[in-house]
Symmetry: D2
Subunit: 306 residues, 4 copies
């Protein structure tokens, strides 16, 4: 009982980091966790010995978070990126010129279906993106089929994408950030590969070589840090790689899932200490919040600090 | 499908409202709801014909939100305030000089009990606040017992509180903001009144006169707006008063509760249209987020705009 | 690491308690908490020295749980009942012959409003219940206005209600179960009292005399147990009464709210140990589940055991 | 407004299906969704033209649900099973004689780490399971490396596992239920394959051949039904396969995740109509509940009916 809860004071025109510093003054509940997450992210980003692994699941591209992810990659705040096939599919659709649109959730889905619009909660995507993607894969499949791992494949896609759109895949390629997608076949991109494989010689990506690569990255790091936006496979895949590191020294999780039901997605980061995934002295913050709110807030504060 | 999801861009040193404007550009998921809430709050605050009712539940004082509530009252963004006995008890404790402290949730509660510290998730409060409160009520009970309604009682408390601390109760009194607490007996303040009533002549507050007053406020308003931070009695009490208004034109709800279980706290604002509590053309936003994150964000953006 | 997680086995035609016993064999996650809750409820119900306090919030009558609550009261598994004005209003509506109906949540609320149907998630109520209630109160207000506390008032209502419908209020009256509603003015019944008070001499219920009564019940008990269905005022009102008992020996909470946001409704029962509300050696179970699923399951198992 | 909410009546010794039928009488909130899920499951199981796809994520084996999954497979209520690597790892550990244990969540994880116990919320697993698994893979790797797809690989594992334990993998093999695990490298089994690959010639599983197989199963079905226990990759992988069916006619989802944050795991089944994954006339139920509570309840009622 040493530190007083100082009430957050709002000043006209305050910057985001000034707001987060106020949250740090209060220090409890969700506001306290947000401010702690920024502190940890700052420590990670400034620690030159630390390799930072970002695991991301959930519809962050349809949700307007693409440029934040790209900015993280460009600034090398992130050294390794693990994501879902859906995120990469949404990113690829935008990379070749399509858009996501603001929609509604209270709507007749059968009407959307007739209009060839697919719904992602209150974000809409035109079905025609799959035509554009198919054309891309038709054109480039010979080159793409040289890839031996998903990481190589995704870098190749990034290389071949046009330059005129902001793109996670292209940014990862250009900045040589390893990008892993352990369940690539579970996505629109996966379906494209399947479609091309039917007509041409197939593509065979060795998922255990990908696994070998991320384990080596973890193994060879002096220190590691993890950031989870959502749970699912990306979180778990990094968590298991951490068992081959000296265990993570920094950890941030932004999720709306909670521990009580036993799943990996909602598990408290502290649980990782029992597994050797997280260092018992690590700094960690479980931010229980919609990532489209928490991530921009955290990232804007971080940028202001660095 | 007219409005593109524009991705949030983070600039170094951006202000909170610049961030919220970026959220407005993306416009979907939680970020979209935050930006919509700010727009609605701005419209309400600028609409001179609109009487704004704030309902607040949850541990906002131990959670560091007291000054935001006070600032709302001082700036008259709020015309009527409905809250819980717990909020008023926590506010009163701080008004007479006590503090809340940053604590831990993973802790042995029986040790806290021995140390006379009570826990509110990861916020701590020393048990001795009740001694200070008892002294206050002993000293002032004769004057306080003149009150005929909870609103009168709470204004009297506000009047009698010392001037040297920031205080919701004093601010409401000084600014003549009606303050309602429909379940005052369910709180530390309620226990204090009970304690004094045992030794002195009792205090009798007519809760139906309070009800009459809030109904009259609602009835006589040209337009009404509602803001709910948390659910519980404060939300429901305002909702039922709205049935006597021309139905609310603006509505914001910040809550972590959700509609699927049928309770009033988690009910979507839209449900109020069936009851005549919300106008069918009203602008409304259901922000599903920890209020200690969403409220400072929304309020800092609002202040910057006005 | 002594007790193995035994997998739940389902047998054709098994009884509910046989299922709960299987959940007891597994013993972890939500299933484990359900089985623990049944064990605790059984202990409470069989402990003749234990006074059991039930706090209930949420739309349990529109949700089809009325008869379970009535059965608990009839069987005296519950000694004291604390609830919301909404529950009592819904109960009263059914007690005078109205019904709730199965509806939809994805529906145009303005159409419902025109049809004079109000929505409680996917349960509907005809607005005309208020006419029936008004007639009841008009007819009986002289007798009702003799009540000095909400408990007396609610028993009087129970006494005066017709006998031909199942009714929480009547059952509580007939079985002399004290029934408290600390925020009665926040409800349809509250509005009825307000309406009658406008034309007749008012009704004045002393809420601090109610508080005195529940504190005396808690104070004078050899042992206490608490059951919370939902949070809100009913939970908190019992929790504060527990500070005047020897602290509760048994506790069950069924809620979809969670601790991380600091509010009383979602607070882990363990937190009560710091306050002296819960005994440090108490048996307690936090069931994080929709009460319309968990309560029938728990109660059917209990009935089978007793 | 045709169907009255009939209150659930509890009878001593009632069977689980009798309870679910009572929930069907009430028909609203979570109870209504549970009863609807049982109805849909029953329709699916009895519809000889319907191929049922089960997607399962979350720690269902450490959570005591293994035998329910096995029973579903044995009874052919399920025709295709998609799951996580974690579920298969936990199943395999038990298949070779290890156990999960009841633990605690409020515990010092660094002490568990020293004792070589890993924590899955309040379920514990001894770290030594990995030794047993490694021995199994060492012994059988030559045979296992003949597999060309994950489905073949998993059937081979099932074939080679001992007969003396109940096992999801063995049951799937024995009953020729196709079993897919799109992110197998993200698991203990994945790590075992990686470990063996380092010393021997590698194993290469063509994930796009798996994708081809599930698409063919979906494509060739007269009718399809889906059951999701948890979200993640298993749900999404089946959802994308449904785009190649005539769209699903039946759908059940048991999840604690909710739609508002935009992710696939919490998405309302209705959203699938816009994608052509779900038939616009399909019967579907979104059960928002801990699966360790909802699944045994639903499955016990189903078994009683069939």
């Amino acid at each position: 009982m040493k530190t007083i809860v100082k009430h957050i004071s709002i000043n006209k025109g305050m910057t985001v980091n000034e707001l987060v510093n106020q949250m740090s003054n209060s220090g409890v509940f969700g506001a306290g966790r947000i401010s702690k997450a920024v502190d940890i992210f700052e420590s990670m980003a400034k620690d030159k010995n630390c390799m930072v692994f970002l695991g991301q699941a959930g519809a962050m591209v349809p949700g307007g978070m693409k440029n934040i992810l790209i900015d993280m990659l460009k600034n090398k705040y992130i050294d390794v990126f693990v994501t879902t096939g859906a995120t990469l599919t949404h990113d690829m659709a935008e990379s070749i010129g399509y858009k996501h649109f603001r929609g509604l959730s209270d709507i007749d889905d059968s009407k959307l279906n007739k209009k060839k619009i697919v719904r992602i909660y209150d974000s809409f995507m035109p079905n025609e993106v799959y035509i554009g993607m198919e054309n891309f894969f038709k054109e480039h499949f010979d080159e793409l089929s040289k890839a031996k791992t998903t990481k190589e494949f995704l870098w190749l896609v990034g290389k071949l994408l046009p330059n005129n759109q902001s793109s996670i895949l292209k940014t990862a390629y250009q900045n040589k950030i390893p990008i892993f997608c352990p369940a690539l076949s579970d996505s629109g991109i996966g379906l494209m590969i399947w479609g091309q494989s039917l007509r041409k010689k197939g593509l065979n990506l060795n998922i255990f070589d990908d696994l070998n690569e991320i384990i080596n990255l973890s193994w060879s790091s002096k220190k590691t840090g993890v950031i989870y936006i959502g749970g699912g496979v990306p979180k778990n895949y990094i968590q298991q790689a951490m068992q081959f590191s000296k265990s993570a020294d920094y950890a941030i999780q932004i999720s709306t899932d909670i521990p009580f039901f036993g799943g990996s997605s909602g598990a408290d980061l502290r649980e990782g200490i029992s597994w050797g995934k997280l260092n018992k002295n690590a700094e960690y913050a479980n931010v229980i919040c919609d990532a489209t709110i928490a991530l921009p807030l955290i990232y804007a504060a971080l940028k202001e600090r660095i």
